[in-house]
Amino acid sequence: MTDRGWPLYEVFLRGKRGLNHVHVGSLHAADPEMALHHARDLYTRRNEGVSIWVVRASDITASSPDEKDPFFKPSGDKVYRHPTFYDIPDDVPHI
């Protein structure tokens, strides 16, 4: 068995109630339980989190982060999805 064994986990923290979990980094651990403990020691030494998710990095499916990626093109020409697309006279209240 080699040293390379411990797989990589990505770590997500909820900073406080009311916020989403946010990706903060990664770590190596033998199993998910250990990954949680390591994540607590590594990423919440100063109360930075109230909840932690860990997920095997190899289990994540990701889009390419490049902005030019045509993957995100479909939403580019749909301006009618935004409220500012619609002209409403100024004297119409509460809209």
């Binding site: 033998a30 250990m34 590594l42 030494r45 909840s51 390419s64 982060p65």
Partner: protein
């Protein structure tokens, strides 16, 4: 435009507009290699940096000082981990990086090759070494490489505690006996010049600076940061009541900055190339810790594998059981509960 030119142009455009490069973006191989080297050296420095102060944990003068020192050394470990994590986003393998460190194929900051001879060294490391590190690191929070910049933001927040605990420790000793004040002055005398060396060779002898600035992996030149550190530190030394060991150190009214004497770059070169007082000891200790931990890593993996196959078997026997009757009442079933 060919695809390669297009990618390169997109990269240059992103960097020029001071936007961040993210892990799966295309990047020139030299940028990738530069980032891996920079982040790995920084990670190694944090990990080796645990040793000089770790040396004093068992001999801390009070429980309060011991708790502080433990927390600080634990932070250094944490910083190393954030940085290895950032290096891995570039395709580097953590086991390889550790291997490079313990076989001296990658470097770490030369400052950690000096010994910590008395407890005042703990304070002086916090004040001067972490102070210099902060000067170096604050601009790196704007590194063009996203994961590195984010790790640096986290690290800089924590370094502030390091510097302040060091300065407070020294203030306490300076209020003590003459012997304690002498210890502080002795530690300052030994650490001042190596701290100035932490900023790297002078600008006229730093061939990669221009490219690094253009790529946004470096934001200020070595000499600029060194000057900034001196300007910050002199008033702190005055307040503390210690003398910085440099006869040339004086305020330059015209420049509005402090002039200081020449750094002994021969010493710097000797320490960087392996001939400092503690180089061999630091690497040997890191290697021993890694080697002695091998059985723990293997045992944890074996346990995880056993547990996983056990779970797998349980799941299968679960499936082969006959379907249970549907629930008789209408109690809502907790579907899709999330972690």
């Amino acid at each position: 435009m060919t695809i390669a030119q297009d990618l390169e142009a997109h990269f240059e455009d992103t960097v020029t507009r001071d936007r961040r490069i993210e892990p799966r973006d295309w990047m020139p191989e030299r940028y990738r290699a530069t980032m891996v080297r920079q982040i790995a050296q920084h990670a190694h420095s944090e990990i080796i940096g645990m040793q000089p102060e770790g040396n004093w944990i068992t001999r801390a003068p009070s429980l309060r000082r011991k708790a502080i020192l433990l927390a600080k050394v634990q932070d250094e470990a944490g910083h190393g981990m954030y940085l290895y994590s950032a290096a891995e986003t570039l395709g580097a393998d953590r086991a390889d990086l550790t291997e490079m460190l313990v076989t001296s194929r990658q470097k770490y900051s030369s400052i950690f090759n000096y010994p910590t001879l008395n407890y005042a060294d703990v304070g002086v490391i916090g004040w001067l070494v972490d102070g210099a590190a902060i000067c170096n690191q604050v601009p790196l929070c704007r590194s063009s490489y996203g994961p590195y910049a984010r790790a640096m933001i986290r690290i800089c927040k924590e370094e502030s505690f390091h510097q302040r605990q060091g300065y407070e420790l020294l203030m306490t000793m300076m209020r003590g006996t003459q012997a304690q004040r002498d210890m502080v002055q002795d530690a300052v005398d030994r650490t001042w010049w190596p701290s100035l060396m932490m900023f790297g060779p002078p600008d006229d002898n730093s061939p990669n600076t221009e490219q690094s600035m253009r790529w946004g992996v470096k934001r200020h030149t070595n000499d600029e940061l060194r000057q900034r550190f001196v300007d910050m530190t002199v008033p702190q030394a005055d307040k503390l009541g210690v003398t910085l060991p440099d006869p040339h150190l004086r305020w330059n009214e015209a420049r509005g900055r402090y002039d200081f004497g020449p750094v002994d770059w021969d010493e710097f070169k000797a320490v960087v190339s392996g001939n400092g007082p503690c180089n061999a000891q630091r690497v040997a200790k890191r290697k021993a810790a890694h080697d002695e931990g091998a059985w723990v890593r293997e045992a944890a993996l074996a346990h995880a594998a056993k547990y996983e196959s056990q779970n797998h078997r349980d799941e299968q026997s679960e499936r082969s059981r006959p379907t249970p009757d549907p629930p008789v009442n209408d109690a809502p079933v907790n579907k899709g509960s999330r972690p």
